[in-house]
């Protein structure tokens, strides 16, 4: 069941973004930024958590989960330290993804030549 929900959720998010891209003048950069903000907004009210429970990795893979993970890291520490915790914990959960992406981008740029 989770597989079907993962398919539906991830597919729907991608489809909505493609419809926005095709019918407006927004670029992929605009749409990804918009989706991160939407993910953060949904997570503040605990909605995205429920989606993750039902859809599993289907909800973790789209860029909306980046906002969700930022909120989670920040709010976990903020519940102990108060508003200051927002600053301490914000990258707690996304650190793995960002650091691996940085290292991969750097190493691959050293090895490969750009293709045009």
């Amino acid at each position: 069941m989770t597989y079907i929900l993962a398919f539906l959720f991830c597919g729907l998010v991608c489809m909505i973004s493609q419809i926005i891209l095709d019918n407006t003048k927004l670029t992929p950069g605009h749409v990804t930024s918009l989706f991160v903000v939407i993910g953060a907004f949904l997570d503040i009210f605990g909605i995205y958590d429920k989606i993750v429970v039902y859809c599993g990795a289907g909800a973790l893979v789209p860029i909306t989960s980046f906002g969700h993970l930022l909120v989670h890291g920040a709010m976990d520490v903020a519940s102990e330290l108060g508003p200051l915790g927002l600053a301490f914990g914000i990258f707690n959960l996304t650190a793995a993804g960002i650091s691996v992406a940085i290292v991969m981008a750097f190493v691959l740029a050293l090895i490969f030549k750009p293709k045009h």
Binding site: F7, Q18, V61
Partner: protein, 146 residues
């Protein structure tokens, strides 16, 4: 033939961007990516005995590594032309934007090329994510009381 008729014929014969077909393709491919990563999550959880939360992070890392390598090999751009935002909206697009930026500006040097441009596109995602979290987080802490 006057100008209006000509315009009509031009309008009739220019290939329309078929957004319904694009939407269907992205729905299918995006859905397959979601389903595949759920499968991968279950594989990590059962074979490596990781908790579900950590195997979720591992799935994201796997996708990042895969898409970075595909970008460096030049395959990813070809796939994006076919499957469009099905590959841009998942975390693969984030890794793709960083690797393609570093490859493109490689010639300008290690610091001014790779270093200065690595976050050229991914920076917007981080910027608006962080600003949104501070904004929403303060609202939740101060107005809703945590």
């Amino acid at each position: 033939m006057n100008k209006e008729e000509y315009q009509k014929i031009v309008k009739k014969n220019t290939p329309k961007e078929n957004w319904i077909k694009n939407a269907l393709i992205t729905f299918l491919v995006g859905g397959l990516i979601g389903m595949g990563s759920e499968l991968l999550l279950n594989i990590y959880a059962t074979w490596l005995h990781m908790p579900r939360k950590e195997s979720g992070v591992l799935v994201i890392l796997t996708l990042i590594v895969l898409s970075s390598i595909l970008t460096a090999l030049g395959v990813f751009d070809f796939l994006v032309q076919k499957f469009k935002s099905a590959l841009i909206i998942p975390i693969t697009g984030f890794a793709h934007s960083m690797t393609s930026a570093t490859l493109e500006y490689k010639n300008e040097g290690l610091v001014l090329g790779i270093g200065a441009n690595i976050f050229k596109l991914a920076g917007t995602v981080i910027l608006y994510g962080v600003v949104a979290v501070y904004f929403f987080g303060l609202i939740r802490l101060l107005v809703m009381g945590g």
